[in-house]
């Protein structure tokens, strides 16, 4: 038995949590613009 990527995605989606502060802010579009201005910069892990 092994879950498929699609099955894992369904489970992830239905059980998702609100990440709260500061995590929601940090992944938002506004901070993306303020920090990177459209550049693509790989995050560490």
């Amino acid at each position: 038995m092994d879950l498929t990527t699609a099955q894992l995605a369904r489970l992830d989606e239905v059980s998702a949590i609100d990440p709260g502060q500061p995590h929601a802010l940090l992944v938002g579009d506004h901070i993306g613009n303020v920090m990177r201005g459209g550049m693509k910069i790989q995050a560490s892990r």
Binding site: D2, L3, L8, L11, P19
Partner: protein, 318 residues
Amino acid sequence: MSFALDNYRLLGRSGLRVSPLALGTATFGTETGWGAEKDDARRLFDRYVERGGNFLDTAVGYGSAESLLGEFARDRRESLVLATKYSTLRRPGDPNSTGGSRKNLLASVHTSLQRLGTDYLDLLYLHVWDFTTPVEEILRGLDDLVRQGKVLHVAISNTPAWQISRMQTIADLRGWSPLVALQLEYNLLERTGERDLIPMAREMGLAVIPYSPLAGGLLTGKYSRADVAGVASGDGTRKGFNFAALGTVTERNLDVVDILKEVAAEQGCTPAQAGLSWLLHNPDVTAPHYRRPHPRTTGGQPGCPDGGPHHRAASPPR
């Protein structure tokens, strides 16, 4: 995703090799009114070890569990990884018999060593944060036990992420034994550890050891919307505990269980197996607990490769 018990993993930044499922022993012993009789506990232990399982989890606060585990482990102690925990109250009325302090640490570890019938612990967790003891006292006490050979590795559970982060930093800067594992409740219904605790564990070299991987049995799919009405608290059953005391049987959680049941049906496995598999797919997770189901619940999970799901049965904290 293999979670065969003899497919060993490293425990955090340590060199210790552990099974990908830890056997929880909080339900060994019957003092709580809902644990396993000795013979049942022995059978569960034997089945786990025969399949290559080596990671046994207990605590000084789990009643007679340490003594039973020590008895079962006696003839193969060296090949087992015995993990126990300290910091929960050992003597009502004695303020120095609880918490993270050096005094309680030493006395608690001596008690555990005696009950387990061994002269060393492979892993010692601080069980519950006490909001009292200075972190240097905890870390230095743990390191002293490592230097004395009474404890091989140290770990932590049920503690705020920011405390663990600064503790690990202090341990590293002073050359004290680092924390190598973190226990927290983590499952499809309790994912808030993803905010800080789990990324912290990844960054700082702590293995994530989820307890209650099946959310106290909810992820076995045994409760439905029809159960939501008419259950009283304190009726002495796990169902009453989940519904009323923990408040975990909610519409939101039942939505998650519905999807889990669908996925399990597609796979031809049980919801419990699918829920454990979801956890084990997370590269940050080292070894969820599993434990015998309570006899008053629906029983074992047929076809589960490891003999059954975890089932949280005593009162928190685990």
